[in-house]
């Protein structure tokens, strides 16, 4: 129970930090006033329309990536699994890069193209992995993901090689991930969308525990393993596709947060999944706050920061656990 209180407190603290700090030099008092709608227009706009939706979006995306990572690690029974393993980042990246380089018009062109590319990759991987009818083989799933990802990455490389330098740089920066496109509408759309796969994955927490014993034991113990794998794969992929389309490809959160929670918390998915959601959110909100302020007015890609703060923390955890 104290661990839960600690994690929820950390989540609240992270969100407060996300709103309190930024490249604009605002005092805590000014931020507080702005939250209540007092102060000059620019300050109110910065706090209410930029920082607040940005911190909340980073939290929900970080949580979604961590839950997806946890589910996929259990699904393919591979500790290296992360949300982007299954060809998704390649597909999303290809869609986004194509939209950027070929200058597809419209204010939502890049996120929609990323979503489209990710969905295409998901469909392709799923079809390849469905061997002999309806059986989703975890090994084939992994291999299909890797080859579809590699194929998409090659196409992306080819497009970049024949494109002018500024577009290539912009596309690479987009791929590194960030929350510069955060707004209340982006937050609203993503949250409503994400709620469905998150609930679907959470509802499978018992079968997920069984699956970690192996597919055959899980089946003996009453899990509908084939259905479980299909549901998990589709839910996790759709969730990641949406995360990529709002924030680009942010590595590390989905890989390491689930392991950190397993070390601290144990392996039961009933608590692992919500705890991973909270810790993933905390990590990404804090990483984004650092990305925005460390070299202000310059900003860093958030994906760079997640690994820079996540790796040392994870190393400490592993060392403590190994003793």
């Amino acid at each position: 129970m104290t661990r839960w209180i600690g994690l929820v407190a950390a989540a609240i603290a992270a969100l407060l930090i996300g709103v309190a700090v930024g490249p604009a030099d605002l005092t805590l008092g000014a931020v507080g006033d702005a939250l209540l709608g007092r102060g000059n227009d620019a300050t109110v706009a910065i706090v209410r329309d930029l920082r607040l939706p940005r911190a909340l979006l980073a939290f929900v995306v970080g949580g979604s990536l961590a839950v997806t990572g946890a589910a996929l690690q259990a699904l393919v029974r591979n500790p290296l699994a992360d949300p982007y393993l299954l060809g998704l980042s390649g597909g999303a990246g290809l869609g986004a890069v194509a939209a950027i380089v070929f200058k597809v018009g419209g204010m939502w062109a890049v996120p929609l193209a990323a979503l489209g590319g990710a969905l295409l990759a998901i469909a392709l991987v799923y079809r390849l992995a469905l061997v002999s009818g309806a059986v989703l083989d975890a090994r084939v799933l992994l291999l299909s993901g890797v080859v579809v990802g590699a194929f998409a990455a090659s196409l992306m490389g080819a497009i970049m090689a024949i494109s002018p330098a500024p577009e290539v740089r912009n596309a690479l920066l987009w791929l590194l991930g960030g929350f510069d496109a955060a707004s209340w509408s982006a937050l609203g759309v993503f949250s409503v969308y994400a709620a469905v796969p998150l609930v679907v994955i959470y509802r499978q927490n018992r079968p997920l525990d069984l699956l970690s014993l192996g597919e055959e034991p899980a089946a003996f113990l009453g899990a509908d393993v084939e259905r479980l794998k299909r549901v998990l794969y589709v839910a996790a992929s759709l969730l990641t596709a949406a995360a990529v389309s709002v924030s680009g490809i942010i590595g590390f959160v989905g890989l390491v947060v689930p392991h950190a929670i397993r070390l601290l918390w144990g392996h039961l998915h009933r608590s692992l999944l919500p705890a991973a959601f909270l810790l993933g959110g905390v990590l990404l909100v804090v990483a984004d706050a650092i990305a925005r302020t460390a070299f202000a007015p310059l900003s860093l890609p958030v994906g760079v920061v997640t690994a820079l703060i996540g790796v040392p923390v994870f190393v400490l955890l592993v060392r403590r656990w190994a003793k």
Binding site: D49, L50, N170, G178, A181, P297
Partner: protein, 295 residues
């Protein structure tokens, strides 16, 4: 303010230095922007130009008829369309360059071109590498290429004219409070133009102030929050597709100048690189600024 005071002396100083170093080296041996000594036995007759700015410059000084190869990005003057392309200008394809049988290859000064330069020099083909990032670079390049191609009279008179135009713009800047201009190069992540870019130079000479004039780099990635804080009077977009689609996005509409649609759109390659068309570009920005101030 910094740039305003620096532009002209910096331009002058660079040109003077360029002239001095040539005299020290003696005729026929010149130093380019990478410190490489360029010496030609005779004026080049077959030039491959590996940057759009260099190609435009060669045409302007009257050496256009000797350009036998260009990059696929070279787009001005229209006569370049008739010249075969050798592909990219950065890290170029040496075989395509050799196929044009050049006696001088003009590079943009960049580390990524070093392997190609080494290869060509090995094969006995002269190379020269010049920056053309701002007007000072451009004038230095015009002087060097004018000398190398024996079009010195033409390049000198054009340089003199350009310097005169620039100092006239300096002298006729409004003395009232200058409007601040935000230049957005990209929306996600937001990339804005800093003080050392050519576009910033145009805007300052036209009589405005870059909202990011304090950052000494060509461009920088920032948060929208920083852009809101700078509270620019105008947003200048150098693009051929009009007011960009991101101007409608909710996070960008937090920026007051974007929300109020205080946009100025300019089109044309004269805004993307320094050239002898720069005075025209500056004049056009000055006109739109004056129109905006009278509103």
């Amino acid at each position: 303010m910094l740039l305003r005071n620096l532009t002209i002396p910096a331009v002058m100083a660079t040109v003077l230095l360029a002239c001095e170093s040539r005299e020290q080296q003696g005729e026929g041996s010149l130093v380019d922007d990478t410190g490489h000594h360029v010496s030609l036995a005779r004026p080049p007759t077959r030039i491959v130009s590996l940057a759009p700015g260099h190609t435009e410059l060669l045409f302007a000084i009257g050496a256009g008829d000797r350009v036998v190869g260009r990059t696929r990005w070279c787009d001005y003057p229209p006569a370049v369309d008739a010249i075969p392309s050798v592909g990219d200008g950065l890290n170029p394809n040496v075989e395509s360059i050799l196929a044009r049988n050049p006696d001088l290859v003009v590079f943009y000064a960049s580390p990524s071109n070093e392997p190609a330069i080494a290869r060509l020099e090995q094969l006995g083909i002269a190379t020269v590498s010049m920056l053309t990032d701002d007007l000072a670079d451009f004038i230095r390049a015009a002087d060097l290429l004018g000398t190398l191609t024996s079009e010195k009279d033409r390049s000198d008179s054009l340089i003199g004219w350009l310097q005169h135009e620039v100092s006239t713009f300096e002298a006729t800047r409004s003395t009232e409070t200058l409007p601040t201009v935000l230049m957005v190069a990209w929306d996600n992540p937001p990339i804005v133009i800093g003080s050392t870019s050519f576009l910033s130079q145009i805007v300052e000479l036209a009589g405005a102030r870059n909202a990011f004039a304090d950052v000494d780099r060509p461009s920088l990635t920032v948060s929208i929050e920083t852009i809101v804080e700078r509270d620019a009077d105008l947003v200048l977009i150098a693009s051929d597709s009009g007011i960009p689609a991101w101007a409608e996005r909710p996070e960008w509409r937090v920026v007051p100048a974007v929300r109020d649609r205080r946009f100025v759109v300019v089109t044309g390659t004269e805004f993307s690189r320094p050239s002898f068309r720069a005075p025209d570009a500056i004049r056009r920005v000055r006109t739109v600024l004056q129109e905006w101030q009278q509103r």
